[in-house]
């Protein structure tokens, strides 16, 4: 088992560190390194560098434990790419529905709450949302399992909670938009609240999510212009996710190279 290895390694290391510390202390106390013998000075330098390596590994271990215990780092690139593609497919379907409704003359730019077009678009949006959540969750959990990280930690619970709060606030506003039939507000509200959720959740996962959130919030400015909402939604929910996901793919976001490799080599 991995844990036994860890114990043995740290026990061995401790023993070695103690022996080493003893040699080191003798060395310093003797004051031998102050003499001008170049061989001895070199030995002292090597000793220093060896201890320093060990202490910088300690620091790296501390840093990685702080990260791993407070952030969910197994964010998969596919968790961006798949929802991005689903969003594009959903928007294409929505465009088709709107065009059909215009062609049959049932829609002229104003729709009431119970208009069949509103129902269709809402159904598309909910299906895309459900599939996206499922795809992101599945790919992230798969990545976490592959990296031998646990899949249900306080860090993940924190992340989900802080992701859900701005989205719930957004859902309340969307409810009022539906009630008052203020459809032109829909895209800016969706983008800015989703952006806020990303900015907040970046505290509990990869830091780069912060910039994706800022981008979504910025996109809510052009989203308010009449006729621009569908292209901007495609940009914000579709292409931004796909590009971000592709950027995440080759990277290995777990910053734990030192804690898992045997130290001292």
């Amino acid at each position: 088992m991995g844990m036994d290895l860890f114990d043995q390694r740290s026990a061995l290391d401790l023993q070695r560190d103690r022996e080493f510390g003893l040699i080191f202390e003798n060395f310093i106390c003797s004051g031998i390194w102050k003499c001008k013998n170049p061989a001895l000075t070199l030995k002292y330098k090597v000793l220093c560098i060896m201890t320093q390596n060990q202490y910088s590994e300690d620091l790296a271990h501390i840093r990685s434990m702080m990260e791993r215990s407070s952030r969910f780092l197994s964010l998969s690139g596919w968790a961006g790419i798949i929802p991005g593609m689903l969003a594009l497919a959903g928007l294409a379907a929505a465009t088709w529905c709107i065009r059909q409704a215009k062609a049959t003359g049932s829609y002229d730019g104003n729709a009431s709450q119970d208009h069949p077009l509103v129902m269709q678009l809402a159904a598309i949006a909910l299906i895309v949302l459900a599939l996206s959540i499922f795809a992101s969750w599945y790919t992230c959990m798969r990545k976490a399992r592959l990296e031998k990280q646990s899949t249900w930690t306080p860090a993940i619970r924190n992340m989900l909670l802080h992701f859900a709060i701005p989205l719930m606030a957004g859902a309340i506003i969307v409810g009022w938009i539906y009630q008052k039939e203020q459809w032109q507000m829909l895209s800016p509200v969706l983008l800015s609240f989703y952006g806020l959720a990303l900015v907040l959740v970046s505290q509990f996962t990869l830091r780069s999510v912060f910039w994706l959130g800022i981008l979504e919030i910025a996109l809510s400015i052009p989203a308010g212009i009449t006729g621009w909402d569908l292209p901007v939604l495609a940009l914000g929910f579709g292409f931004a996710h796909i590009v971000y996901g592709i950027m995440m793919l080759p990277l290995n976001p777990t910053s734990t190279p030192l804690s898992t490799s045997p130290k001292g080599d």
Binding site: D4, G21, F24, E25, M66
Partner: protein, 99 residues
Amino acid sequence: MKDLIEALDKTFDSRIRLGIMSALMVNDAVEFNTLKELLDATDGNLASHLKGLETAGYISVQKSFNGRKPMTRYKATKQGRKAFESHIAALEKLIHFKP
């Protein structure tokens, strides 16, 4: 450099103890099982290190019941946070020491 090494806290003389303190520094409280998974340690080993930190007064222990399951949560004390911060500062000084 000798006094720099002496500035290190001997209580943190193990990777597991460093890991425990790191997790407790960035979280309010951490459960025993979470620590176990995080550090990939055995029950006995983790418990003995936790005991060591507790005796030093660096962490506090809260025992409670979650339904019927006993739950042990650990917190870093003020003293522990201070000690760990100065330990990190000493490590950083050691790394930047030029012979």
